[in-house]
């Protein structure tokens, strides 16, 4: 079966453009139809995806701007398959929520809202599917435009300052990446060869180690800000507070993953020597983020920021797994990207539900005491909280375990410090749950059970979280081969390793984690 990724990418935008010609009150149908179409297509793709095949599937590779060597090159493998499915599904949920929730129903200029919302989905899907560096940069920067408007036009208090801050922060990184990407393309071009930004081509063409290093720093700037990782997270609290909730759901769940995904897709394969060179620095970033995010999340009163800072910690874990430069760690990172995307989305939907009961307030100090009257909501939040703190039995546990295994292999110290973050996660998540659901009833809190809309958006997320907890192999199976291709192995690429001693076979990459071993 052929799946046309171009169609998946542009369905949401096409839907919104159709919606733009409908009456304003009905314009959501266009966006909804487009995103549902993309989601169905993505789900079909996930079933059709052949896990035994090495390399990219559903490849589209056409000339786009041949003068600059930019190709319209898309493809799916184990690294991005589940992120694409996650993106497509979450967008449907967010659109349904933004359409039905009374708090967001009376918005100014609905057609424009849906247009930006759909453009954001198209840009994110494009960045995830892109197999050409320039195309990736194109979509990566394009993502910012709709979010700039979504936060700035329909956000909460302080939105203009927050959105400007966010765009400038992220674009500082992204523009450096643009320069780095162009430089990489030009400098890697051999004498007389044609310039190409195709990731496959760039992986074969090499540039000198010094060049790799400064280009690495430019890419890292873009991806670390996007993630965000301490200390480059300065835009995060303002943007999270100001973003409208449906926007925040997709922003926190998916957009932040595109940054770390960029490391796996681009930086590790294309700049292997520099990745090895900066490994320790990146591990330090990761571990500091884990500790910092966890500690600050504990001290927050604003529920959005609890989840926001917890995201910093979780993305620290993902970064740790990637820069363990170990197949297991990277597999864990891929898994954790999907897991955290789901959990973050579910938590933000739950925050919206909690705020509806706490007189619109999203502060923990004004919530509490609703668990008895709203057991379904409480149960769903509990599952999400457990997943976020990586309770055994959830897929997050598997993901974090793999990451830590990968790290322990060569970097025991970093791994041990990071493991402390797992403990901290349970501290802040349990505090979050207790303050939101139990304790004394907050002022102005009305206990009522989750309504159909809330169940409708949270329950599917919870169901997927539970399902992944039962059967995490579904993600792991596809990633094994993709990860082995992406991750450079310091022990095989360094020169000092020398020839293998007689009697032993050639030194191969360490064995990837085989999901068959993991039978609970």
């Amino acid at each position: 079966m052929t799946i046309h990724l171009t169609i998946v990418i542009f369905l949401p935008l096409a839907g919104a453009l159709v919606g733009a010609f409908l009456p304003a009150a009905r314009s959501h149908w266009g966006a909804l139809a487009g995103s549902v179409g993309a989601a169905l297509y993505a789900v079909v793709m996930s079933f059709d995806f052949d896990r035994s095949v090495d390399g990219l599937q559903y490849v589209t590779d056409d000339a786009w701007i041949s003068e600059l060597g930019i190709r319209w090159s898309l493809g799916v493998d184990g690294l991005n398959l589940w992120l694409i499915v996650l993106t497509a599904l979450l967008w449907v949920g967010a659109i349904v929520y933004a359409w039905r929730a009374e708090r967001f129903r009376h918005r100014q200029k609905p057609r424009l809202f849906w247009f930006h919302f759909a453009l954001a989905e198209t840009a994110v899907l494009g960045a995830l599917c892109a197999q050409d560096l320039a195309l990736f940069v194109f979509f990566f920067d394009l993502m910012l435009v709709p979010f700039f408007f979504l936060i700035g036009q329909w956000g909460e208090e302080g939105r203009v300052a927050a959105t400007t801050k966010m765009v400038i922060y992220t674009l500082v990184g992204s523009l450096l990446m643009l320069a780095g990407a162009i430089a990489l393309g030009v400098l890697a071009t051999p004498e007389g060869g044609d310039i190409s930004f195709s990731l496959a081509v760039l992986q074969e063409r090499t540039v000198g180690e010094g060049t790799q290093q400064w280009i690495f720093l430019m890419f890292a700037a873009a991806f670390l800000v996007k993630a965000p990782v301490f200390p480059l997270h300065g835009w995060m609290p303002d943007a999270y507070r100001a973003a409208p909730l449906p926007v925040l759901v997709v922003f926190s769940a998916v957009v932040s993953k595109v940054g770390v995904y960029g490391f796996l897709r681009i930086v590790l394969p294309v700049l292997p020597d520099a990745s090895v060179h900066f490994q320790e620095v990146m591990l330090a970033f990761a571990v500091v983020s884990i500790l910092y995010g966890s500690v600050i999340a504990f001290a927050q009163d604003d529920t959005r920021l609890v989840v926001g800072y917890s995201s910093i910690a979780q993305l620290g874990f993902i970064l740790l797994g990637i820069f363990a430069l170990d197949d297991k760690g990277a597999q864990g990172a891929v898994m954790q990207m999907v897991n955290h995307g789901l959990v973050a989305a579910g938590l933000f939907f739950a925050i919206a539900a909690l705020a509806r009961r706490a007189d619109g307030s999203e502060l923990l100090s004004r919530m509490g005491g609703i668990a008895f009257r709203a057991p379904v909501l409480a149960a769903m939040l509990l599952i999400l909280a457990f997943a976020n703190l990586a309770m055994p039995g959830t897929a997050n546990f598997v993901g974090e375990l793999l990451i830590l295994f990968g790290t322990f292999e060569d970097h025991l110290t970093w791994g041990l410090i990071a493991a402390f973050g797992v403990v901290l996660a349970s501290v802040y998540m349990i505090r979050f749950f207790i303050r939101a659901m139990h304790n004394r009833q907050g002022p102005g809190v009305q206990s009522k059970e989750a309504c159909l809309l809330e169940i409708g958006v949270i329950a599917p997320v919870v169901a997927i979280v539970v399902a992944l907890g039962v059967y995490p192999q579904v993600i792991l199976e596809g990633t094994e081969k993709a990860v082995a291709q992406a991750v450079p192995h310091p022990e095989t690429s360094t020169i000092e390793a020398g020839p293998a001693p007689a009697g032993e076979g050639p030194v191969g990459p360490p064995e990837a984690y085989n999901p068959e071993d993991f039978q609970r």
Binding site: F138, R159, I168, L175, L176, A183
Partner: protein, 512 residues
């Protein structure tokens, strides 16, 4: 007696009338426009004169396309003017800018005050000057072209006679511009003194043969000439006149200066550095690169705190001149292509922005202040969208032609071993975000308070009234929408512009 007459007959230069035809169309157009405007009547003044101006520009445009041919210089007036694809390609941009300027001027105050014949005739002569300048093959013609381009502009800047700032703008431009011209002329004289030739071709051969490149007279001459051209292109540190003049001049003229004059200046800069002095790129490259870097920083920092949109666009124009210079610095064919590509894109982006400024300042009591743009997204999306696209494109966001243009320039800079200049371009873009995004934020993200008839809600400031409807000036809105649409179109399908740039680059066979 007859013998004497025969002897006295001056050998005229050989003229290729086909090649010079666009120039005749412009000069003839200017004369006809001036003559026709002597007749009174609203029809003549408001319809016929602009129509004749457009006809003249259209004829020049058509003739240029008809002559389109890739390759080296082809003399049209021996030893004075020569046409190559760079001249033709620059011509395309001049005519496009002038046609858009005519559309923007139709309801302009300046046209009413100065008289429509005078206004449009001056505009046509200025375009003629640009054509001469871009086609000049000789130091003398170069100077003639420069003056023919500048003097009408000095007058046009001051056409809003009753407004002090317009007069100030004209006077300032006259003084600073004359200083620039004098510097250039001095430089040209020294180049002539050093090489003994006024032809570009002869100068290029003389350098290295009869006179060394380290000849002080020649070096000073080149430096002064470059400074004179930098005045016109508003390259730092010769940019100080730009914000004042741009702000004071009637806005259609500002738009014309910002786009067409920049194209003309860069056409000459390209010809001087990438053609006549191309062999010496290693020597002048670093100096020009330093100028580019300074220009990028100065322009972007200068724009940061501007509230007047015209000043903001002036400073942004300075910064963009810095980006453009990066394409010249490398002295490669790729650089030339990138520069031309960006010039074309720059024209579109700026015209869209200036058209919106014109539409707003005509109805708002706060003029071109940022306040006139508050809530524009609510009140008239037809103006807000072009402005948004122009701002995002100038900042270099993807899916606009500005992204491709910057991509191309950085590509050229890195390939020409000026990677640091490529990084300077992105650093400049970072700074520029702060002011471009502010304009966008003001338009879309303000509060809304007052409801207009028809249910649209707007803010009660910045001259909002039902008469302020953009539909009252359709030609301005059309310019804005068309330029913005083209900016998006060329951001997604840039190949037509790439083809154009490739043809233009074929004019300099010497480049690598």
């Amino acid at each position: 007696v007859i013998d004497l007459l025969v002897i006295a007959k001056v050998e005229g230069p050989e003229i290729d009338y086909e090649g010079i035809a666009p120039l005749f169309a412009l000069a003839g157009g200017a004369v006809i426009v001036l003559m026709v405007s002597l007749f009174r009547g609203a029809f003549v003044q408001r319809v016929l004169v602009p129509a004749l101006t457009l006809a003249s520009l259209g004829a020049a445009l058509g003739l240029t396309i008809w002559q389109w041919e890739t390759g080296d210089l082809e003399p049209i007036v021996e030893n004075a003017l020569a046409v190559d694809t760079l001249a033709l390609g620059a011509g395309l941009l001049f005519y496009a800018a002038a046609i858009l300027t005519v559309a923007l001027s139709l309801r302009a105050e300046a046209v009413r005050i100065a008289g429509s014949g005078e206004y449009f005739a001056l505009l046509l002569s200025s375009v003629a000057g640009m054509v001469v300048l871009a086609a000049a093959e000789n130091l003398v013609t170069l100077f003639v072209g420069l003056e023919l381009l500048s003097i009408p502009l000095y007058a046009l800047c001051a056409t809003e006679l009753y407004r002090g700032t317009s007069l100030e703008s004209g006077l300032k431009y006259l003084i600073v511009g004359s200083l620039g011209s004098a510097t250039l002329l001095y430089g040209l004289a020294m180049i002539y003194g050093a090489t003994g030739a006024t032809d570009f071709g002869a100068i290029a051969t003389a350098i290295g043969e009869t006179v060394g490149i380290d000849d002080p007279l020649l070096l000073v001459g080149i430096g002064l000439a470059a400074a004179g051209l930098a005045f016109k292109a508003s390259v730092a540190p010769f940019h100080q006149w730009t914000p004042d003049v741009y702000q004071g001049a009637p806005t259609p003229i500002t738009a014309f200066m910002a786009t067409a004059t920049k194209v003309a200046a860069f056409a000459v800069i390209l010809r001087l550095f990438d053609h006549a002095l191309a062999i010496e790129q290693l020597n002048w490259g670093p100096a020009l690169a330093a100028l580019a870097a300074v220009t990028i920083i100065v322009g972007n920092v200068g724009a940061l705190f501007q509230r007047s949109l015209k000043r903001l666009l002036a400073w942004s124009g300075v910064a963009q001149a810095g980006y453009l210079l990066a394409g010249v610095v490398v002295g490669t064919e790729l650089g030339l292509k990138a520069t031309y590509f960006y010039l074309a894109v720059y024209l579109l982006m700026n015209m869209a922005a200036f058209a919106v400024v014109i539409a707003r300042e005509r109805v708002s009591e706060t003029g071109d202040d940022l306040r006139s743009f508050e809530g524009l997204g609510q009140a008239s999306p037809l103006l807000a969208w072009p402005m948004t696209i122009a701002m995002l494109a100038l900042a270099g966001f993807p899916a606009t032609a500005g992204f491709i243009g910057k991509f191309y320039l950085i590509d050229a800079a890195v390939a020409g071993e000026y990677t640091w200049l490529g990084v300077m371009i992105v650093v400049g873009s970072m700074i520029s975000l702060a002011y471009y995004l502010r304009v966008v934020a003001v338009m879309w993200m303000g509060g809304v308070e007052v409801e207009l008839p028809g249910g649209r809600k707007v803010r009660p400031v910045g001259g909002w009234s039902p008469e302020a409807d953009p539909r009252a000036q359709p030609e301005v809105v059309t310019v804005a929408v068309v330029c913005a649409a083209a900016t998006i179109f060329f951001g997604l399908v840039p190949s037509p512009l790439f083809d154009l740039a490739r043809d233009v680059a074929s004019s300099f066979a010497n480049l690598a």
